[in-house]
Symmetry: C3
Subunit: 232 residues, 3 copies
């Protein structure tokens, strides 16, 4: 099937739209954009220049965890905005009003909730769930198998990991869980499998090696508690 | 008005030049470059492949600070070099001889001084002032509302922040101020609002939580002074 | 000479292939790809969208170390995979089965061994040697003049440096040496000139300021030893 394109779609130059793509009404598409097979784009979406939507994952011999090949199409929810140079994979979805910055890439099987902001140059790995009204600032790295609940704030250049044994094999990986309302300072480091509880605050540059309690503030390397907010 | 293009301009394939663009003499433009409405490009500029020049900022419902919409055109000063895959916004300017690396993005209302080097994969936020002969190495993050004076050296992968309360609202943000000749080691973390004085040295991996004096060297998390150079 | 293109090559739209390029059989080339003068691409290579292959280095007045201009063509070994938005320079080579992620850039005079994985958004500087079966995860920074031996694992967002005096001049630079089988945790910081010996383990967020012994594990800022594995 050829692509199905809505009304009032503004299309830049040298745009490539593959088969089975569905594009809603009032969509703006920048120059040199590539929309790959089957991608669904809602109404009122704005797409920057040189964006790739709906990429399929690839692999090589050394990769222990092979990417899934049966993936549903990428869904770009209505009124979302995609920055220039972004690369979004098949099998993921953005809810209504989400924002994705320039040069950001989101792998397969990621869900991003309503009105969330994924800043510029952010890399999100596969199988990660990001809630609504979340902010992930510029340059942060969101590992695979991670859960980020609603209203979380992640400052710039934060790093996370899901692989305790660093490439030793194909055992179960576990990314951090960041619970509702927690805030992570810039360039913080999160180790695999930890939970950062509701409304906790992680200081800039902290290296978080164990769970952080509700309302707790931690700083340093390794991160230690400095105070606890009253429960609200 | 259609674009005004100087003499001896080498233009790659599939280049898009929007209206009111002005391009000087002896300019080289790579393949798939997009030069957006009104952008001014001086003489002897070299532009890599897949570059976007003059992007307008975008926003979503969740963003507390809305970007300015009345912005003067992007100015790319004479003899500047722009790497492949870079995304530069409207409302900013590069002085003569500036260098911008591949996959780097510079937001609106940024000024970059003469002969400064902004390396590959550097993200510069809006409203930031970068002096002359500054080096910002690969992968560093320059937050909004920051001042970087002349002859500063910022190593690779440094991070800065301007938002003490991490997304709590639309109060005044303040990025770090880095004064003339200071040097920042790789992967250092700078907190909001601090001043790093003239010729100070920040060690690699340091987390700088308070002001650093002239000629002082600091290291660690949190960063502490280890020595002070004689004033020169 | 015009490009020489093998059998069964799938070519996307708006692809630019410059003179003297050689492309093997069964190669897949995405949309908007730029293959620059002289690049050699082996059989069974897969190239994503918006990739630049064979870029020549550029410079400005302020750069102390001028890039070499006499460079052999980029060699993309057979069965390699290149992600979307990647920028690879002339003078480098990928061995058989190597994997390069999206939005990654590799400078000139870099060699990458068989089956190695260079993740998304990784920046590799010039004159660096990466062995076989190495993993460099998303967002890591590999400085110039670095040696990474076989079977090394580098987690996400690691940073390295080769310039002890931070831009003071054109003296000899020395990147870290990471020996066979060592593992580096996420967001670790490596200082110039250090050696990380065989099978050492660097904890997440560690700041490594001196050599690390064989089988040693180090953590913290500055990194200190916490245990030593039995030699195997």
């Amino acid at each position: 099937m050829k692509a199905k394109i809505g009304e009032n779609v503004l299309r830049g130059e040298h745009v490539v739209i593959e088969d089975n793509v569905v594009i809603g009404n009032n969509v703006t598409i920048g120059h040199h954009v590539v929309i790959k097979e089957g991608t669904f784009i809602g109404n009122d979406v704005k797409i920057g220049d040189m964006v790739v939507l709906g990429k399929r994952p690839s692999t090589n011999k050394k990769m222990a965890r092979k990417p899934q090949t049966a993936l549903s199409p990428l869904i770009v929810g209505e009124a979302s905005t995609i920055g220039s140079g972004a690369v979004l994979y098949r099998g993921s979805s953005l809810d209504k009003g989400a924002f994705v910055g320039d040069l950001t890439s989101i792998r397969e099987k990621v869900t991003i909730g309503e009105d969330s902001i994924i800043g510029r140059n952010v890399m999100v790995e596969n199988n990660t769930k990001i809630g609504s009204r979340v902010t992930v600032q510029t340059g942060s790295y969101i590992t695979a198998d991670m859960i980020i609940e609603d209203d979380v704030f992640i400052g710039p250049c934060c790093s996370s990991s899901n692989d305790k044994y660093m490439g030793e094999g194909n055992y179960r990986h576990a990314g951090p869980i960041i619970k509702r309302g927690a805030k992570i300072g810039n360039n913080a480091t999160l180790l695999p499998g930890i939970t950062i509880a509701e409304n906790a605050i992680i200081g800039a540059g902290a290296v978080v090696v164990r769970n952080v309690e509700k309302n707790q503030t931690v700083v340093g390397n390794p991160a230690k508690g400095i105070s606890k907010k009253k429960e609200s």
